[in-house]
Amino acid sequence: MKVNMVSAINNALDLAMAEKEEVVLLGEDIGKDGGVFRATDGLQAKYGEGRVMDTPLAESVILGASIGMAMSGLHPVPEIQFAGFMLMGFGQLANHAARYRSRTRSKFEVPMVVRTPISGGVRTLEHHSDSPEALYSHLGGLTVVIPATPYDAKGLMIKALHMRDPVIFLEPTKLYRLFKQEIPDEMYEVEIGKANLVKEGNDLTIVTYGTMLSVVNEVVEKKNLSADVLDLRTINPLDEKSILDSVKKTGKVLIVHEAPLGFGPGAEIAARIAEKAIFELDAPIMRVGSNSFPYPFPGYENYYIPNALKVSKAVDKLLST
């Protein structure tokens, strides 16, 4: 089937619900309305109100109750309407989802997939466009995933629903309907914790994910670069090996993400490259990200999110050193 990302996610949830009675969906407006982005469209009609629940408008209990369900044999998929609102339930994720396994030496497990839309570029109101992957990755204990294609979205979601861990599944709103892709009708898994080498080349490595993958691809094509383009797909745990293998081959690396630069995922990636491969580099590690302040109102977002020009200039600088 040829589908966009939001349909791919819907299809993955559908298949997982058909496969296991334990999979339940809960969140705000996810039932009849099918979610504000329609990711759960039609699933309540198919599986009933007992498995696809519109909850009261309360993020902490959506996440906290999901933790309780997960510890009691279910595999809940809570949807938080926007990542900005997930902070109201941050305590549940940080204090409990992230550490219930370790604090009980695996006696209790929290298998659940927390879905929430992230990133900007679609002119939404404030608090609807954040890129909070570093917040959730820093905690440890949470697996943090960001798909960049419909194929990966479906495969990562199915994989996440086959795991026994809490997975933070971050869905870039801009990619929901940006393009369609041919994907298998049936179930398949995309490995979590494994980056995807999207393009291969010799002159530089570009490490990216989410909304920035298409920006990077555009620059690589336009400039006819010979570059390794790595789509991380999983932010935590990081696929350090794939990054180091590529960097050792090319000797130059640029990290591109939409999240703000300061204390962002790029800092973690750069530090690991510096520790383990600095003598294989022939240029400083470079990063491109949004500016180091909170996401602006939509009228200013195009000045904030990294664009092809910003990536292109960084590539020029990197290749000239």
Binding site: V24, G50, M53, T55, P56, A58, S60, V61, L63, G64, A65, S66, I67, G68, M69, A70, M71, S72, G73, L74, P76, G91, Q92, N95, H96, R101, S102, R103, T104, R105, S106, K107, F108, E109, P111, G140, G141, T143, M163, R164, D165, G193, P237, L238, E240, K241
Partner: protein, 366 residues
């Protein structure tokens, strides 16, 4: 149009009216209100309650003493709250579940948690939070009230699987001020979940008294905002607690109940706290007269079911069990590898590298 003032009286409809009952059965003199005495309770069971309450107090004293000797980490004493905990735990049916905060040691005791596991928690090891499934309980939760949403989810799963299981969730008076408390009650109300929310109102949230926690006359009435049944009970009366919780459990298949158990924290918040800094000792004296264990002993003595000899034998037996459990817990050897091996259900390479580094360099020897 200007209406006469009385006109309003015809338009105003009262759309909600609520009242909270307070239940007491066993008074401070050990006398019973026979009209309220719960069916299914007999003197044999009251004796058992007495033994558990005494056991809990002995256990509490031991934990306190271990902490003072540097053999336990910070500990939260339960003294004064035995009736609330033992009465509710004994009301549970075999398959029922419970979600504690950090003070329900007596609930674990009644539900048969091996005491060495409890001691491991208070000695600072995660192995002490690995509650065996047969106990039917979840581990201690420290962030106040954050366990309430879990309880709602656990109750949801019981209902989803069509199991007649009630989930008891414990929270303190301070915890009722948290958003999670209300969110969980509201969620449980909407989905009619088999949850029994128990406010263990011990009058103090560290140094903040009940009067500064809420302007509401009772904490039980907070249930009205969530559309669920609510009742207040003398939390130092083990028989009343047993009755009220038993009824809530029996009703759980139709939806949640909120129960405020009015009790008293006779001691400190935790071993890191000094209540003399903020609490009038005269208040403690008032509550000593309402002691939950004394009144059961009075009841049993009046019926000639208890004696000094029995008391002495019980104390010795309980201390022996406690000491054996302490010895087991103190023999425990932590394995630092277990920290790494239980973060995820899989082992990420980056974590394996950190583990290998620690092992290869003997970092744990220092």
């Amino acid at each position: 149009m200007i209406l006469p003032i009385w006109y309003g009286a015809f338009l105003i409809k009262r759309v909600f009216q609520g009242a909270v009952d307070n239940i007491q059965i066993l008074d401070e003199n050990g006398d019973i209100d026979a009209s309220l005495f719960p069916s299914g309770l007999d003197d044999k069971k009251i004796l058992e309650m007495y033994r558990y309450m005494s056991f809990a107090r002995a256990l509490d004293a031991k934990c306190l003493s271990l902490q003072r000797q540097g053999r336990a980490v910070t500990y939260a004493p339960l003294i004064g709250e035995e009736a609330t905990q033992v009465g509710s735990a004994m009301a549970m049916r075999a398959g029922d579940l419970f979600v504690p905060n950090f003070r329900q040691h007596a609930v674990y005791l009644v539900r048969g948690l091996p005491l060495e596991i409890m001691f491991l928690y208070w000695r600072g090891f995660e192995e002490g939070a690995a509650i065996p499934k047969e106990v039917g309980g979840f581990p201690y939760i420290v962030p106040v009230s954050s366990q309430m949403p879990h309880a709602a989810g656990i109750a949801f799963a019981q209902k989803y699987n069509k199991k007649d299981v009630a989930v008891l969730a414990y929270v303190g008076d301070g915890g009722t001020s948290e958003g999670d408390f209300y969110e969980a009650l509201n969620f449980a109300g909407v989905f009619k979940l088999p949850m029994v929310a128990i406010i263990e109102n011990n009058q103090w949230a560290i140094s903040v008294p009940r009067s500064k926690q809420s302007a509401a006359e009772t904490l039980a009435q907070k249930g009205f905002a969530a559309g669920i049944r609510c009742v207040q009970v003398d939390g130092n009366d083990v028989i009343a607690v047993y009755k009220v919780i038993s009824e809530a459990i029996a009703n759980a298949k139709d939806g949640p109940t909120l129960i405020e158990c009015v009790t008293y924290r006779m001691s400190m918040h935790t071993t890191a706290d000094d209540p003399t800094k903020y609490r009038d000792p005269a208040e403690v004296e008032i509550w000593k007269a309402r002691d939950p264990i004394d009144r059961v002993r009075k009841y049993l003595s009046k019926k000639a079911l208890w004696s000094l000899e029995l008391e002495k034998a019980m104390g010795e037996e309980q201390l022996k069990i406690i000491d054996e459990a302490v010895a087991k817990a103190e023999a425990f050897k932590p394995d630092p590898k277990s920290m790494f091996e239980n973060v995820y259900g899989y082992m990420p390479q980056v974590l394996q590298d950190e583990l290998d580094d620690s092992v290869a360099n003997n970092f744990w020897q220092g």
